[in-house]
């Protein structure tokens, strides 16, 4: 491997000093001249006909500058996909969940806005509602949308090989059902959006997002304004975790208020609104039937999953597919059938979440443990025997160009001293393992590629212009690292203009782990474009071949004769003095199967590469209280290449906290019918510093053939492997396999009591 100045180094991020000082501006921090406070009126009913909305009293309240209702919109329905267009941003006919937007006001201060909300008269006719998957599917159940019979809005079918034959040929077959209620994002930053129009009808809007270009198009559609007049601006974002991808009604509402009031408007969500009125993660019931051969290899698998999607589609087709796809990437399974159903209920809307379906992932993995026990094969060996390998094709026909899963299993096993511990720990002390995988993007049609521009200054500094989004994970820094490295500059020489739809070219956005692979590649190519042009100039000046040159420390030099050097600034000025403009452009479109579609054709190359990983977790259970003390966690991922190891470790550690510690021990939404009873951090328990265990991290590098410097992504699936490992560890500690998550102390106590009873009777 070549020696790098910045790539592969633990350099401190370029964007964290301003976060340490409090200078970084998040959407709620924005102050615009004459800005108004926006507030949204929400439905108190889970399912109701809107009979009438009378905003007149609110409009007359002094200090109120605009009130919007569905009447102010065209009533068009929007959807992430053409076949999921079911959501109006202000409903015209009925509300479908408690918390749904009904009207909004913009006023001179918050108190006036709140008072105005209370003056809007809405007459509802309450309709019967459904709150569970079972109720929604029952014959005669109230239908949420006319277009989705039986309240099923997505049905993904994948059928590969011959599953029935596979079961017949299996040595052992198991069927189990796994369930988990909703998890929730709880990003640090509650949602906020600020918008203003100028007199030419140009919109400027700021909100936390995972892809400004993904926000701009629906805004353009609903406002009937061309894209060049819809500017989604860059803003510091306080976390996304999969929850800020699509357009939000708040975005549209804020724009409408700003337009009507002819003044900037800012809407800041409370924590409760962030939990209830943005997105949540799906609750799931996953039935998994798996057939194994005598060596514990999976011969056939049949999975049926019902997911509670809430009241509208959101990213339904993706959310239904990804839990399956992650598992089919991670493990070999020749014969597999998947039926994924997204069921609509009168609950808040569900989308994709970092821990893509704990019931799904933990179910697959814990079955490996159960079968392993029946056959005398330990869980780690079960993973090794079923692990994906380089050069494989997944069941849905994605070629796997690089895969270090086996290496992650072996290394994690070694560091956690698996063979010393498994089966040898005292009662109530257990160890567990989980493996998973994540894709780096998926077919996104015209939005699947990224383009970057580089502008040069006459003193050699540059500005990189790219649509890459940073939700806090360090993508901005990645751009600087790549650009500085390729151009031979220092990080200080690189300025960024990112994630601004007026200026930056299209980029898929920071979900499904594609920024490093797609965005990073585009930046690298743009930098190489600049370098080529500068090398041409210097080569001519020095009378050498371009291939003989290198760039480092702001200089271009002959590699084998470093004394022969020219500053980059000088090379730039030479170009300019010849009246030649100099800049760079690069774009990257991953080679995915453009015909692959979530529902209509779920086969073909899903993404150009995949990353893989393993987590092992060790726990002690208090048998009197059912509480779990996590002793140690080891997390490993094949990230292709670590562009910045410390940044990647941070992703692993965060993933362990969210998917494992929170996802398996304490995180779930509790309900009263369609109402969230745990909308704040007091009710929904995310992990605290005092509870986190020691986390070891192991970065595995397989040097992907296509990723920038071999890099793939930064370990998103650690959240899933961690969930699986925690589940396995607790199950191992108790000698009971858990099917319901999270594994809260009451469930543990119950399992202990039931096991004691069985042991006595057995």
């Amino acid at each position: 491997m070549e020696k790098f100045s910045y790539i592969g180094k633990d350099m401190k991020r370029i964007d964290t000093a301003c976060k340490a000082t409090g200078e970084a501006v998040f959407a709620a921090d924005l102050v615009l001249p004459r800005m108004l406070v926006g507030k949204i009126l929400r439905s108190p009913h889970a399912h109701a006909q809107i009979v009438a909305i009378d905003p007149s009293k609110a409009e007359k309240l002094p200090g109120v500058k605009a009130v919007v209702t569905a009447k102010d919109t065209c009533g068009d329905k929007w959807g992430v996909f053409k076949y999921t267009q079911d959501q109006q941003f202000l409903p015209t006919e009925k509300v479908r969940y408690v918390g749904e937007e009904v009207a909004a006001v913009a006023a001179v201060d918050e108190d006036t806005a709140l008072e105005a909300l209370s003056l809007i008269d809405v007459t509802y006719e309450v309709l019967p509602a459904v709150y569970t998957i079972e109720d929604a599917l029952a014959p005669g159940a109230p239908q949420l949308h006319d277009v989705y019979p039986n309240n099923i809005n997505v049905h993904v079918v994948i059928d590969v090989g011959d599953v029935e034959k596979g079961f017949t040929n299996s040595y052992l077959v198991r069927e189990d059902t796994f369930t988990a209620p909703e998890d929730s994002y709880f990003q640090g930053e509650p949602y906020a959006v600020a918008a203003q129009f100028d007199h030419a009808g140009n919109l400027e809007i700021w909100m936390p997002n995972a892809g400004p270009h993904m926000k701009a198009k629906p805004l353009s559609n609903v406002l009937k304004t061309p894209l060049n007049k819809v500017r989604v601006r860059k803003i510091t974002i306080g976390g996304a975790f999969g929850g800020r991808s699509e357009i939000s009604p708040a975005d549209v509402i804020c724009a409408f208020l700003a337009k009507k009031a002819q003044r900037p408007v800012k809407i800041v969500y409370s924590r409760e609104e962030n939990t209830v009125c943005t997105r949540q993660a799906h609750s799931m019931i996953t039935k998994i039937k798996t057939g194994f051969d005598r060596e514990g290899r999976v011969v056939a698998r049949d999975i049926t999953c019902h997911m509670d999607g809430g009241a509208y589609s959101s990213t339904g087709p993706i959310a239904v597919s990804v839990p399956f796809l992650c598992m089919e990437q991670a493990y070999r399974m020749e014969n597999v059938r998947y039926n994924g159903y997204r069921v609509l209920t009168n609950k808040p809307i569900r989308g994709m979440f970092r821990t893509h379906g704990r019931a799904f992932a933990c179910g697959i993995d814990i079955q490996l443990d159960m079968i392993g026990e029946a056959m005398g094969i330990d869980p780690l060996t079960m993973r090794l025997r079923n692990a994906r390998q380089t050069g494989d094709y997944t069941p849905t026909k994605s070629y796997v160009a690089s895969c270090g899963l086996t290496e992650t299993i072996e290394k994690t096993g070694k560091m956690s001293r698996w063979t010393e511990k498994f089966g040898k720990l005292p009662p109530y002390h257990g160890i567990g393992i989980g493996c998973n995988s994540v894709q780096t993007g998926f077919p996104m049609g015209i939005r699947g590629g990224s383009q970057a521009f580089i502008k040069l200054n006459e003193d050699g500094g540059v500005t990189v212009i790219t649509g890459i989004v940073d939700n806090g994970q360090g993508n901005d820094h990645m751009i600087v690292q790549i650009a500085a490295e390729e151009l031979g500059l220092t990080p200080d020489d690189v300025q960024l203009i990112t994630a601004d739809t007026e200026v930056t070219p299209s980029d898929p956005g920071s979900y499904s782990m594609c920024e490093t692979f797609i965005g990073g590649n585009a930046v690298r190519l743009a930098a190489q474009d600049v370098k080529k042009k500068l090398f041409r100039i210097v080569a001519a000046e020095f009378g050498v071949g371009e291939e003989e040159l290198s760039a480092r420390n702001r200089k271009i030099f002959v590699t084998n004769n470093p004394q022969q050097t020219m500053s980059i600034a000088k090379a730039v000025r030479i170009a300019l003095s010849r009246n030649e403009s100099i800049s760079g452009e690069g774009s990257y479109w991953p080679k995915v199967d453009a015909k692959r579609e979530w529902v209509k054709n779920p086969y073909g190359q899903l993404s150009e590469t995949f990353s893989f990983g393993t987590v092992i977790c060790e726990v002690k259970v208090d048998p009197e209280t059912g509480q779990v003390k996590v002793m140690e966690v080891t997390a490993s991922q094949d990230v292709g290449y670590a562009l910045n190891p410390k940044v990647i470790e941070g992703q692993f550690e965060g993933g362990v906290a969210m998917g494992g510690q929170g996802g398996m021990l304490t995180e779930y939404l509790q309900w009263h019918e369609g109402r969230v009873l745990t909308p704040t951090q007091l009710g929904y328990l995310v992990p605290l510093a005092i509870d986190m265990p020691k986390i070891n991290t192991i970065i595995v590098e397989t040097i992907d053939p296509k990723g920038p410097y071999g890099a793939k992504e930064a370990g998103m699936s650690v959240a899933m492997s961690a969930a699986q490992a925690y589940c396995g560890a607790i199950s191992n500690a108790l000698g009971v396999y858990f099917h319901e998550y999270p594994i809260t102390p009451d469930k543990i106590l119950k399992a202990i009591e039931e096991k004691k009873k069985r042991d006595r009777e057995g």
């Binding site: 000082t21 640090g188 930053e189 005092i690 986190m692």
Partner: protein, 159 residues
């Protein structure tokens, strides 16, 4: 609706005196952010649970979202904007940056101030003491690992 009159409030924030006129039901958090335009202090829950609103009052960490502005007149209030040393970062801020203890940054001001106050009270805290001190500061990104490393590095430096 209860009657309220705006009242003159004088606050000492980051060694500067601010005279504002506000309703008594304004929290210190609201006044800091909206009247003084110091937006480093954040609201992530509004209930005193998450720690993002932490400021120091006479050196002690408190929840500014549960503090009335009118009640802290005459006290020395320190926000995140107040601990840098001119253009230089304070060692606590520096450690957070160097140890990758900041990802999205939303919890960071509260986390840094809490750590700053801890180290003033206990210059050589154990890891357990650090984890306990920041147990009321919720971070969704980092899993806390590098935050603890950052604070630990300062504890060792004192030696």
């Amino acid at each position: 609706m209860n009657e309220m009159k705006k009242t003159a409030i004088t606050l000492n924030v980051n060694n500067e005196t601010y005279d504002i006129v506000a309703y008594p039901n304004r929290t210190l958090l609201e006044v800091i952010r909206d009247d003084l335009h110091l937006t480093g202090t954040k609201e992530s829950c509004g209930q005193g649970v998450c720690g993002s609103c932490t400021v120091l009052v006479d050196g002690t960490p408190v929840r500014s979202c549960l503090t009335l502005a009118v009640a802290v007149q005459g006290k020395e209030i320190t926000t995140i904007e107040g601990i840098s040393l001119g253009e230089k970062l304070h060692p606590v801020q520096e450690a957070f940056v160097n140890h990758h203890a900041i990802q999205c940054g939303f919890c960071s001001p509260g986390m840094i101030l809490t750590s700053y106050a801890l180290l003033k009270e206990n210059p050589r805290p154990t890891e357990a003491a650090i984890r306990r001190a920041i147990s009321g500061n919720i971070c969704r990104c980092t899993g806390y690992a590098k935050i603890v490393e950052a604070v630990k590095s300062l504890a060792e430096e004192e030696k």
